[in-house]
């Protein structure tokens, strides 16, 4: 808490916020402050799990309009207190944690849906709308955002924009940044700006992309226009088992290089195939690496693409065909991994070492991270799958897991162990051509690696931040800024 609750300054700020939002929309209660102090980052979850107090915001603001957001920014600048945007709170990087107290701007009241433009196939909404609710609205009009991540039920569209989120169909439809047409932003000093209405132009640098991925450090995105798509006539999946991870990776890369257009590809390493895939799908897969892919769109084109893809899998890489049933199982259970008890949770210590690299580097990155974890932390398990595929490479969703007996009881020691794993694994990834990360964002967790990742380019980001946010009120302590 920056402002002591028993000081008259606390009441001064609260009164100003109430003037803008109404008393009902300025929270200071214990339950709500607690609710905004723990996201899905392991450290605060562990802290709370062990009865420790988590850093809490002083005020939780629930604006419903862009204008109200701008007014909050002006008050925060006046008093020089932190502003932390909060959407659904499903982030795993600590990006929305109010580590220095101050004001949480909870965007969920900004949930207006303005409908689909059926000529342009775009949809406009406020960014506090929960992604599942947006998707339901679009579905009712016969369309889909095709942004279908596991966190769709919790995260807001603004949250996805803030950290460049992605969904299970990213290979065809792209990440959130590929879906954006334009945005409205409130800058840290309270100006309201709009980016150009189309994403492809030659009118200077891409202002939209300056804010997308900035994790609330450069302002708050309040409204967005996104692309939408007609629901496909057909969507088909097929799964294969390959003799090892390398062969499966080669087959997946070949599929992408063929320039067929899969909507999804997912490859599980041998360890994850044996454990997680079996547990969730109930499939008996004792060895090898499981790869699943799918196509969607017009039925005849899906069938044609599937035929060529099968040739690659079967004739060139000798994959064992699990058929469409083996693929459908993945699609039907794609979110099941994230429900308890399938998801890792405390008292285990675990983390997702999200990294992206070119096909030339991705296996090197995988083995370097695996070695860093296995050599330095013999108690940890290392598993991985490859989730989001591009023409040039893919994303490694590597995870480390410590069982309860291997995690120190002291919370400080537990945090130190946890951070040490990240230090070694992330540096191994970066040193081998990996980029941290692909879609979880940087937040608090990875901020300390930004200088290492960006090198001499980091001051460019720092100068942008300083110019836009002279009082450093916006989400301080995040992204290494």
């Amino acid at each position: 808490m920056l402002v002591e609750k028993d000081s008259y300054m606390y009441e001064m700020i609260r009164t100003e916020l109430i003037d803008v939002l109404g008393a009902e929309n300025v929270g200071t209660g214990a339950a709500d402050r607690f609710g905004h102090s723990v996201d899905f980052y392991w450290i605060p979850e562990m802290w709370h799990d062990r009865g420790m107090e988590t850093p809490k915001p002083d005020f939780i603001c629930h604006p419903s309009t862009t204008r109200e957001v701008a007014e909050i920014m002006k008050i925060a600048n006046q008093y020089k207190i932190p502003v932390v945007p909060w959407g659904g709170g499903s982030g795993s990087q600590g990006g929305a944690l109010p580590v220095y107290g101050g004001i949480i701007v909870d965007t969920k009241r900004m949930n207006k849906y303005y409908g689909v433009d059926k000529e342009s196939l775009t949809v406009r909404c406020q960014t506090g709308i929960i992604a599942r609710h947006l998707e339901w609205n679009c579905n009712k009009e016969g369309f889909s955002t095709m942004h279908l991540p596991a966190s769709i039920s919790c995260a807001t569209i603004g949250g996805f924009l803030a950290h460049r989120g992605t969904g299970v169909l990213s290979t065809k439809y792209g990440k959130i940044e590929d879906m954006v047409m334009s945005i409205e932003v409130v800058t840290p000093t309270g100006e309201i700006i709009r980016t150009l209405p189309v994403p492809r132009h030659a009118s200077g640098p891409d202002l939209t992309m300056l804010f997308v991925g900035s994790e609330g450090t450069l302002g708050i995105i309040t409204e967005v226009t996104l692309k939408v798509h007609p629901q496909p006539e057909a969507r088909e999946f097929r799964a294969y088992i390959f003799k090892d991870f390398h062969t499966a990776m080669s087959a997946g890369a070949e599929l992408m290089r063929s320039r067929l257009q899969p909507c999804a590809i997912r490859l599980y390493d041998e360890t994850e195939t044996k454990t997680h895939v079996r547990k969730v799908f109930g499939m008996e897969l004792e060895q090898g690496a499981y790869l699943v892919f799918g196509f969607d769109g017009r039925k005849d084109i899906v069938a044609c693409q599937m035929r060529y893809a099968r040739e690659i899998m079967e004739e060139k890489y000798h994959g064992q065909d699990l058929g469409s049933k083996g693929g459908d199982l993945w699609w039907e259970n794609k979110y099941k991994f994230f429900y308890p008890p399938y998801m890792f949770h405390l008292p285990q210590a675990f983390g997702t070492l999200d990294t992206v690299a070119t096909f030339a580097n991705i296996e090197k990155v995988y083995y370097a991270m695996k070695k860093a974890v296995n050599d330095n932390f013999p108690a940890a398990r290392f598993i991985g799958h490859f989730s989001h595929w591009y023409e040039w490479g893919c994303m490694l969703y590597a995870r480390f897991i410590f069982e309860e007996k291997d995690v120190p009881a002291d919370p400080g020691e537990a945090a130190a162990l946890y951070n040490r794993v990240w230090d070694l694994a992330i540096k191994a990834a970066i040193d081998n051509g990996g980029v941290i990360n692909e879609h979880h964002g940087v937040g608090l967790k990875l901020g300390r690696f930004m200088k290492y990742l960006y090198g001499p380019a980091m001051p460019v980001l720092e100068k942008i931040k300083k110019e836009l946010d002279p009082n450093n009120i916006m989400n301080p302590g995040k992204m290494g800024l």
Partner: protein, 338 residues
């Protein structure tokens, strides 16, 4: 403590975000505290430091939950956050820590008059206050012909939901005696909460009623209207859908009478019941129920002309009170079309 029997839900829900979009109350208050994850986390905190259970904010959060059961239905492993909250309420009551407003509602429930049984027949219809106020009871009488009717009392479900378990059980015993002394083979109810009480809560209390229990729509399954019901928006009951495995009879009855049912809203996962699962949320937090009703109204395709049908008298009462939607109970629609 009662919450100790729900450790599995505490430890599952506090690390899970998969049902947060289904928190009906959270979707109108927009606060994190009104989500299963944060409620479970706070209750977990109370297991480490029991004094935290008595934080007024936590207590208010626990008592304004909608208890719709949508989260449990959505959960692939059916973790029971609803059960956890009910257990937490029971702990609060046992510790004397229920809010004064809740104690006053409980006192009123305890003071309700005895059940009065009238009429003749081999079937007993339980006409609770919501069924009477919504018009469902009167319509049922028109459709059902000769039945006995029980009116005026409380079965104990409301008290059970508020955490007054001992008192609820005492009322439930009296209620079962009323049913048994009516000497009928079948008991019929319109209120899905009472249906759930007879089917699920009585066994949970260790009590038993030997007769057959039906929701009114099952009992009326032979009704034939003189005209087709046409296009209707069906608005689900929490108790029938989420607590009783998508109880099929309301929709089957409507379809058998020529209804072309459209799903109300944008999906069949959310609760649009205005807090039916919490039984007396309208008495605990009327302003919150108004917000829930407005949320429902905003999701109607054509609010001025759509005909919305529900098997929940409670929901009909709230929507009639706070919105301009045209809402009918199943019984009313059938009676109008006889």
């Amino acid at each position: 403590m009662n919450i100790d029997t729900f450790r599995d839900a505490v430890n599952a829900c506090r690390f899970c975000f998969m049902c947060r979009h289904l928190s009906a109350v959270g979707n109108v208050t927009f606060t994190e505290a009104d989500t299963p994850r944060v409620r479970a986390s706070m209750i977990y905190g109370a297991t480490l430091a029991p004094e935290k259970l008595f934080d007024p904010d936590l207590i208010r959060t626990v008592y304004r939950a909608d208890l719709s059961g949508s989260c449990r239905r959505n959960c692939v492993n059916s973790f029971d956050e609803v059960g956890l909250l009910l257990a937490c309420r029971a702990d609060l009551v046992e510790a004397g820590a229920a809010p004064e407003a809740v104690k006053a509602i409980a006192a009123n429930l305890k003071k309700m008059p005895e059940w009065r049984v009238s009429g003749t027949g081999s079937v007993l219809y339980v006409a609770d206050n919501y069924s009477v106020e919504s018009g469902a009871a009167a319509a049922f009488a028109k459709l059902a012909g000769r039945v006995k009717t029980a009116k005026g009392g409380s079965c104990g479900k409301g008290l059970w939901g508020l955490g007054f378990r001992k008192e609820a059980k005492a009322l439930a015993k009296k209620f079962v005696k009323v049913l048994e002394s009516a000497k009928v083979r079948t008991v019929v109810v319109s209120h899905p909460g009472i249906y759930d009480f007879l089917v699920n809560t009585l066994p949970e209390m260790g009590l038993k009623f030997g007769g057959k229990v039906m929701h009114s729509t099952e009992f009326l399954s032979g009704v034939k209207t003189s005209r087709k019901l046409g296009q209707l928006y069906y608005l689900e009951s929490d108790f029938l859908r989420n607590y009783n495995n998508d109880y099929p009879f309301p929709k089957a009855l409507l379809r058998a009478n020529g209804a072309r049912l459209k799903m109300f809203g944008t999906n069949d996962e959310e609760s649009y019941s205005c807090g039916e699962g919490a039984l007396v949320l309208d008495k605990i937090e009327p302003e919150l129920v108004e917000k829930l009703a407005k949320y429902v109204e905003a999701r109607a395709d054509h609010p001025e002309k759509d005909v919305i049908v529900t098997a929940s008298p409670y929901t009909k009462v709230q929507l009639a009170k706070y919105t301009s939607l045209k809402v009918r109970t199943v019984e009313e629609l059938l009676a109008e079309a006889l």
